[in-house]
Structures are given as C-alpha cells and as structure tokens.
Symmetry: D2
Subunit: 356 residues, 4 copies
C-alpha cells in the first residue's frame, strides 16, 4: 500500500504556522514594525517549550518505571542533554530580541496589556514538572502566578503539580541505589571515617607545625572544627537533615556517584546528575539574563504602583532553582587520596560481566 508523497510545506503545516502572527498594532492601525519580531521570538520560545515537554514525557515514563533499564537510562540522559541544548539555544534568542530598542518597543507595548510572559502555561509546566514546588514560587504583586492564567490553563497547571516531578523521581531513584551497602557497614560509615581521618590529619599538621603563629593556629583549628560540624549535614541518621530538599539516602547516593563516577555502573548516573546541574544552571542564567533584558527594555517601571518586572525576575533566578542540592554537594567532597576505596565486592558488582 503506497503512501502519498509528502510535501515540505504540508508536512510542517506552514499555512497554519505562518498565519499565526496577528500584531495588535496592525489591528490598531499603528505602524509598529517590531511587533512581528516580538511575536516570532515568543512563538519560537513556545515551540521549543513544546519540545522540552515532549522530552519530559519520555523521561518521566522511562525514569518512573522501576527498575530503570539500561536502555531507559540511556534515553533519560540523552533527553536531558537535549533539553540543555535547547535551553542554551533559547537563551541565545535574547540576542535577537535585543535588536529591538526600548523606543521601538514603546510603539506597541501598551497594546499588549495585560498580557505577560507569566501567562506562558508551557513554561510553568516545565518548571513544575522539573520540580519547582508551587509553594516555592515567588508570588508577583501578591498574587499567585496561577491566578494570572486562564481557567483552562490553570487547570492544566494544577494537574501537572499533582504528579511526581523529575525531582521526586530523582529522589526516589537515588534512594534505591544498590551500592551503598558495603557488607555490614555502609558507604556513609566509611565516608564519615574517611572525613574524620582527613580532618584529623589536617588538625595534626596545624598543631605540630612550629612555623604557624599562635593566632593563626587557633583560627585554623577552629575552622577545622567547623568543617567537622558542617559535615554532619550529610551523616545524619534521620532523613530530614540540614536543609536538604533531597532525602538523606538520596544525598548519600549522589555523593557516592560523584566520587566513584568512573566505575561502569556509575557512569550514566554521573552523567544524569551533571545534566541536571547543566539544566538548572542554564535556566538560572536565562532568568537572570531575561531580567536584565527587561530592565533594559522597560527601565524601572513607573507609576503603576506594582513591583517592577525585572526585580521580580531577578528574584526568581535564585529562588526558582530546583537542583541546588546537587551544587551543594561539592562542599562535601574530600580529596581523591582520602576517599575510601571501594570494597572489592562492591567494585565487582559495578563492573561489566564481560570483564569477569
């Protein structure tokens, strides 16, 4: 049964796509050349958001099915890296948007009221599905973001918030890591011992070096004590320790993966964590750069009595971060030479069959 030949323009639905630009300025009989650019940039964003959500569909399915198979894991990492590439691209779209001057923007700015990027349902969905908790969202002008959505969009937004996010899936997947049981002891015990030994050696060096002035010696020793105390944040036995959003076992698993990343069974997990940090970092940069662009375009908004958009956006740059725990992990690394060696039997289990 022969298929009908496919024509480029039909395949891409260009009739629909290229007729979807309806500048308000044209309707208002105003000549505002740059409104087309404004529309196209935002439509391009929305196309890419759709792609990101398409990737999240598969990532959630693969990562949410227990156990996560090797093939599934390969797809998850690949999809996250693709999301990262897309985010880098869309940050670059600001270079194009910034060819519009504030004075040209003014030609049509008021015609768009009160539309706002806050109303992008897809962007909200991406944040929520990655793991931005509704309670964490910074409200804008004392009004929760979702009040600004249409009823239909609000329903979709809320539904997304009720499913486990990528952050949740990560937390659970990390907590299942099979390599933390070191036969009797645990990785946590071994790492705690290693940390203590390492810091004790540091303290010993400080104490025994006559060249160090008394004042400096005391300061150094106090610092080492503080370091020991700070490490307790990862050794707590309970699961609601020291300000982490991840559970205690998840934190330990993430640390384990970071330290033993070159062992075969840790390679993909390590790439997964790296991809999540890349995504977090690029989204943060995007928010920040977006804030600067808004400031350049609108200045400090006057006369509306409300918060300024750029100040709000700048706040979200930090407060809407999702995988900050992974960045924080770096504080708890110790030098390679001090890291406990993997027990032979754990190491064996992390290798390939072929090598055995």
């Amino acid at each position: 049964m022969a298929r009908a030949p496919v024509y480029y323009g039909d395949y891409l639905k260009l009739d629909r796509l290229l007729s979807a630009q309806e500048p308000e300025s044209v309707k208002a009989g105003v000549d505002a050349h740059d409104e087309m650019l404004f529309i196209i940039v935002h439509q391009a964003y929305e196309l890419w958001f759709k792609q990101i959500l398409h990737e999240l569909d598969r990532i959630e399915a693969d990562f949410g099915t227990i156990p996560v198979t090797d093939d599934a894991m390969g797809r998850v990492v690949h999809g996250l890296n693709r999301i990262h590439e897309i985010l880098k691209l869309v940050v670059g779209q600001l270079d194009v948007l910034e060819t519009m001057t504030p004075f040209d923007f003014l030609d049509f700015r008021d015609l768009l009221m009160p539309a706002s990027g806050f109303q992008s349902l897809q962007f909200r969905l991406i944040e929520t599905r990655l793991g931005l908790a509704p309670a964490t969202r910074v409200p804008f002008d004392d009004k929760a973001i979702d009040e600004r959505l249409s009823e239909r969009d609000r329903a979709a937004f809320r539904a997304a918030g009720e499913k486990p996010s990528l952050f949740d899936l990560l937390d659970q997947w990390l907590a299942r890591t099979p390599f933390l049981d070191w036969g009797g002891a645990t990785f946590r015990d071994a790492y705690r011992a290693a940390v203590e030994k390492h810091l004790a050696r540091d303290a010993e060096m400080v104490r025994s070096d006559p060249a160090i002035p008394q004042e400096k010696r005391e300061r150094d020793l106090r610092n080492i004590e503080r370091a020991i105390a700070s490490f307790s944040a990862i050794f707590s036995a309970t699961d609601d320790n020291g300000g982490w959003r991840l559970s205690g076992s998840a934190v330990q698993a993430a640390l384990f993966i970071t330290l033993y990343r070159d062992k075969p069974a840790a390679q993909q997990p390590f790439r997964l964590l790296a991809a999540l940090m890349d995504i977090d970092e690029t989204m943060t940069l995007w928010r920040y750069r977006h804030a600067l662009m808004v400031e350049r375009m609108i200045g400090v908004k006057i006369g509306t009595g409300g918060s300024s958009g750029h100040a709000y956006l700048r706040t979200t740059a930090e407060r809407h971060r999702i995988f900050g725990d992974l960045f924080r992990l770096s504080s708890f690394l110790i030098p390679r030479s001090a890291v406990p060696e993997l027990p032979a039997q754990v190491q064996a289990r992390m290798g390939f069959v072929t090598a055995s």
Copy 2:
C-alpha cells in the same frame, strides 16, 4: 473606547501554533520519538524566515525609494544587522538538531519522502530577494530547484525573481554616490595615481636594494607588474569589467566608502557594506555546516542513483554567494599612508552642518 484585555496564549495564537505538529510516524503507528524534534526545528526555521522576509519588506521599501533619507538609511542598516543576528541564531539550531543520531533519524526518515528542505519557499525567497540570480542556482539532480515546488509556491518564487533584489538596489545606490566627483578629476583618477605611485615606490625599493639577490629581485618585480595589471580591474572605464557583478561605478563607490569610512557621510554606508558581508558570510557558513550535518546524518547516500545531498549543499556554499564582490574589494586596498587625501571641498560636504 476601551480595548479588550489581551491574553498571552491568544495573542500568540498558541492553539494554532502548538497543534501544527503532526508526525508522520504517529500516523504510521511507528514510535519515532525524534520526529517531533525534526518538525519543531524546521518550524522554528520557518518562523525566523518569516521574520527575515518581514525585515526585507521594509529594507526594500526604504532602500528602493530615491533618495534614501537618513531615517530610512538608519532603518536599513538596523534591519540588516537584525537579519545577521537571526542567521547566527539559526546556525545554532543545528546544535540542537545534532542531538538526533543517524540511527534515530532512520526511524522516520523514509516516511518523509520525497519532502525536502529544497522545498522551503521562504528560504528560496530570501535567497532571491537578497540577490541570488535564478541562473546562478546550482541545479540538483539536473532538475531546477523550482520544479520541486508546488504550483502555488513556484508562482510566488517566480514573482519574487522579477522584482529588483537587494543586490540590485545596492548596485544602483552605490552608483549614485555623490562624492566620486572630485572637481574636475574623479576619485578613480586620484586612486589610480595613488596606486601607481605606491607600486612604483615598491619597485624602486626592490631595484635599489643591493642586499636583494638577483633572482628574488626579478621575481619581486614581476609580482609588482602583476599587481599593477590586476588593479586595472577597478579602473576600467567601461562598466563590464573584470568579472565583477557590480557595475564599475558601484565598485568604485564601495571602495571609496571603505577608504573614507570615518567621514560622517560614509559611516552608515560603511556599516551597510559590513552588514551585507556579515550576512553573506553567515549564510555561507550555514550552508556549509548544514552540508556537514547532512553527511553525518545520512552518510553518502546509497542506492538512489542521485547526487548526494551533502555534496550538493557544499557546492552551493560557494556558488550561492551573493555579495562576494564586497569581499573581493579587499584585494584593491592600499596602505592608509598611500591613500589620496580627500579634497577639502569633498570632505566638507561629507561633514555635519553643525561643525560648519
């Protein structure tokens, strides 16, 4: 009369935009996850093409109305720089597309037959309106590109070819440059004299330096003679000289602008020429990179008896260049110290009133 409030999703026609992705693999009941990416990338291209055409609309109107006012000239240069920024962005989209592996592409590649990027009407229009002459287009598989278009697209494509292109407008605008008449003499005469003096001095140095071995001296002198001959390409009195696509007076005007770029009346013209070279260079790079991407994705196509896509694309990288004449100009510059000084009265006419 109060305007209705605008909602983000309505303004951007998201219903239309986000329902325009209909993967062939879905219709065929095949699981080809990456087809969505393939569609989205190409739709994003087409959105940006629409924006480029929107800019060309204004550029042609401004640049085609004689005389070109200062305001119009400002808009033309601004529009060209924006096109350049857009081109840089779309080159970057290949980074995202390349996250699709050849093996994943194979999941749906055959379902798209015989659709092809050659069928992008908007891209053809951009090339034609910039100035790619139909006769210059490299045919693909002995078939003119426009045979691959639908009837409606072909008509639009041909209509575009009948209007003056940006290249044509540039040619005419350059030829009208009012500063080439140097009161009795012309810029051409003065520059010819300067070139001859400069090269004669070089020759004299070679002849009079006893440290230069005889063989090298002869070679150097032959080279200087060749240089003198080559310069005739810009001094010809007739207008169909030496392989330029631009007319003789346009070439001289472009040279003039390049040499006296800092005089007020030459500043925008110089930026115009630079923007055209930026566009030409970035489109060339894009074609070339596109060719590499196709090679990576498809390899050397086998079994169809036709040309390979990537070899064709690589050919167009050079042969579809439009503003190559501007690059060629660099061959005809002489050092700043040898450049003839502007006659006082020409210089005065190129300045601001305020300074007088």
Copy 3:
C-alpha cells in the same frame, strides 16, 4: 634597508608564552591533570584583559580630547564594540572551564591558597577605568579588595583610580551636546510639555470612559499622578537630581540622543550609548555566571569562617554596574507620536552638509 624575515613562533614569543605554565601540583609531586586547564583559562583571560586595556587606552585618548572629532568618534564606538565582542568570548570560556569537575578541582585547589581571582590587577583596572568608583566596590570579608593586591599592583590600581574614567568622560561629553538649545526654549522644556500633554490625555481618557469601573478609574488616575511625579527626576533644574549618577544635563542629552537617534549627528552617539549598555550587560552576566560556576565548583564553602565566594560574586553582579543610568532612561520614554518634533533649525544642524 631590507627587514629581517619574521617567523611565526618568534613573532608570537611562543617560547615565553608556552613556558609560562607551572602547575603547583607538579611542584608538589601530585598528579592533578586539570591544573593545566585552570592555568590556561586564566592566562587566556589575562591576555584578553590586556587587549581590553589596549582598547581603553585609545578610547580614553580619543574621547578625552575636546572636541571629539568624527574620526575619533568612529574609533571610540568601534573600540567599545570590540570590547563587547571580547567580553562575549570570555564568558564562553566558562563552558570550557566547566569541563573540570569539582572533584578534579579538589586535586589541586588547596595548593593555590590564598591566590584568588580578586587579585587580577588587570580586571580591577578595567572596572576602574570603565568607571567603577572605589567607594562602590563591595568589600570582601570586610577587607577592601585592594588590600589583597601586592604593593606594586596596589599602586597601579590606585593610580588608575585618579584619572577620569570612561564614565566621567561620557558625563562630560554628554553635557556638551550642542543640540539641547532649541532657540529660546530648551529640549528639556519641550519634552516636559510633551510628557504633560501625553499624560493629561491619558487621564482625560480614563475620566471620560464610562465603561471603566469607579475603583479602577481611581487607581488609574493615581498611577498617572505617580508617573507625572516620577518624571520630575529628569526635569529637575539642579544637577543632583533623583539618584542619577550622571549629571542632569548629561541625562537630558542621553535622552535626546535616544529619541532622535536617526538624525545623522545622533547616529554615532546612539551607537556609543548602545555599546556601553552592551558592555555593562555582558559584564554583569559574566559576574553572575561566574558566581554560579563557583557555586558549582566549590559549593557552599565550609569551615573557613569567611563569606562564600559565590555569594560575594553574585552581589557584585548588580552592585558593580557602571552604566545603569542608561538602562534607567527607558523609564522616561514616551511614545513616538508624543515626542516633540525637532525645530527645523536644530534638525538642519544635525544633517550633512551635502544634503543642504
């Protein structure tokens, strides 16, 4: 007199350049492969800083010689655009640096103590010469930055602080703008009248539209009153008005250039302002991205009792901004149709002689 032939490696002093990498880890007998990358990245930064300072040398000379000639102005704008390109490049160097993982950094991190990027004299000089006032610098750990410099570096740093910065030169150059005198009245008077008329019309529309509910009407009118009040920040007769760092006449000149940018005599000035904003924005992004990178690399530093580096860097992102006034200007624009027309005689003085 024949010149000696030049050899690539000698010209670039490669012997010196490529022997300037002396990893501390090598001296300490430690295998820390990535220290080479760390050194090379920072050396590449310093090379580019030297180039930026080289551009600033010429910019200061050109921009500081009164009157600034057309040629000089062309060079100033060109130099600023080049600095912007360099800044974009060096931001990109973080992509390379981030291929180093925190765990690999730990292999040599402690060996570098207490060296720190804060000790880059050239970066401090760039900030200071652009216009970062010493008093504005955020201190780090209650210690002025310059205390961390060696004596020689500190002297160079202080000397730079005593010369007029680019910000100062800009302030003075703007204040000299010759087009603010509109024959009897001033641009300021005309613009104030235009703003008042524009806002009065807005108020009238709000008052006379029966469709607007009472509560919204009152809110709208209050906002318009606030807007009128806020505009006073640019209409103050004295020169120490409303929190601007620029003088009052400089602010008005910058506003004038923004509004009449397409008039020939305003084109280069407009490009100048745009280039300064580009530089400010890119430096800000760089600082912010740098802060994120440090957080990723080091986490929240523990045990030293000091501030964390990334929090400090994040603070400087905003507080070390230099040309924020130019961004703020956007708040004081009114729509094109409301902008007062240039008096014929001012317009004539801003045009080219040739057109007259």
Copy 4:
C-alpha cells in the same frame, strides 16, 4: 612543612605572559593599533593548542595501554569532549578577530612577511597526533608544509608523525572489540543476513504493488540492487575493502557500537565515537570559517604569483578530515526493526554484574 602563599600574578606568570606582545609596527615606528589584537588572538590560540596537546598526552597514554580500563576509558571520553569544547571556543575567537577591518590589517600586514599560520607547530602537532597522515596533507604552493617550519620545529613535527596517532589507536581498539563473536557466527554474518532480508522485503513490496508504474518499478528495483552492492563495502572478508581508512574489523566494530549503543558496555564506546565526530566536524568548520575570514581580510591575493590562502584553506577543510569513516557509517544503517537482536549470551556479557 608550610607552603609559601601563592599570589595570583606569580602563579600565572603574568610578567612573562603580558610582556610577550611585541608588535612589529611599534618597532617600525608605525601606528597600527590593531596589531595588538592580531597578536593576542594568535597567542590565545596557541595557549588553547597547548591545552589540547596536554589532553592528547593523557588520551594517548590511556588509550594506548592495553587493555583500556574503565577509568581510563572515562578519562579518554572526558578529554575528547573537552577538546571539542575548546575547539568551539576558538572558532568563536574569529568573531573578535573580525572586528579588525581589512584596511586596518593593511597597516601592519606587510611587516609580518613571511610569517604565516602554517608555521604553527602546535596546530600541526594536533593534526598529526589526531591522525592526519603526512601524505594526506595538501601542499601549499608546491611546497610541503614542513619546509616552512624552522629546523627545530620540523624535527618536533616529524617525531610526532612517527608515533601511533589517535586514529591508529582507535583502529586497533575497535578491532579488539570482544562482542563481534556471536557464538559460531559473527556479527558480520548476522548483519549481512539482516540487510539482505530487509532489502529483499523492499524489493518484494515494489514488485507486488500494482499501483507502481512500470518505469518507476524498474528504477526502484535497480536502486535496491545498487544498495545491495554498496553494502558489500562493509562485508568484505579482507581488510582492505572499499576505500575505508579503518580496517574491516574496525568498521564492523564501529557499526556494532552504533547499533547497540544503549547496552552498558557500548555506552562509553558510543560516546567516544560521537566525540571524535564532534571534533572532526568542528575542526572542519573552523578551517572553512577561517578560509572565509581570510578571504574577507585579504580578498583574492594579487601579484604574488602564488596560490591564494583562502582557496588553500578551503581545500584543507575537506581533505584534512581525519574521522570521515565514522560519518560514512551512517550509510550502512538499517532501521531499528530490521537490526538483528543481540544473542542472549552477548547481551549478558555487555551488562553489569550487579544486574545478574
């Protein structure tokens, strides 16, 4: 034993680094502002080349020690990805260099004669160590590139050519792949059978579809025959088959890795191949863009009787490619559904111990 405190400027040898710029124009008493940029760009290139060579040192050591351990493989892939990031960065340096106009370049161009980028020893070493065979190098002006090097540089260049290149190491490593033996049969046999079955099914569909016109049917069948013939290039029993530079077993191993990339033991190998293609592609783009830049800067060189630099560079873009075989592989893929399933015992050997 306390270490001496490290100072930023000393650590980076800034005295040496920042005194290594000695413009020829300064020596000649000429004012050529942009020569500093020219020097700095090239010095930055050379710094990055040193880093690339530093990575190649470790990659060669790790990849050349048999067997390649898991840790070593992790480092190899990581190092290649870093080289790719560096290459992307240095391509971007052209954006900065292109802020120099041809006319400004002319201020010092002749003073550099006959120095040339061809004399960059480090760049030659990178090409050679990656695998560019001396015999493949395109000669410039009928003169082998190495004749242009100083005696010392030429010796270093030749020595590098005598060691196994990365290409050689890849070839040998691929040929050792342990998974091609499918118990009695080989992967090659299984894949040949699958290809034949797949194409036979295609032929059957063409033959049995009455809707296909006779002429098209014959053409389609001829194409399928040609496809069958073309596949012989990967099924040849001998090792010098069909124009591959890789050995026959290496080609089959590369194909195997491409098809079964998600199996644990194939993941790093797949990333290795992808990284090599990324490097090849980015170096090719760089050469091509470099050629365009030279054309823009110098035009078509006149009067020297030699080849033009940009034409030469453009030629090398294709002819100096090293890992073209990996791109060619895409021609020999068949759809996922037609790919032979891995025998259970091979699949088991490619998994992790932990899963068993």
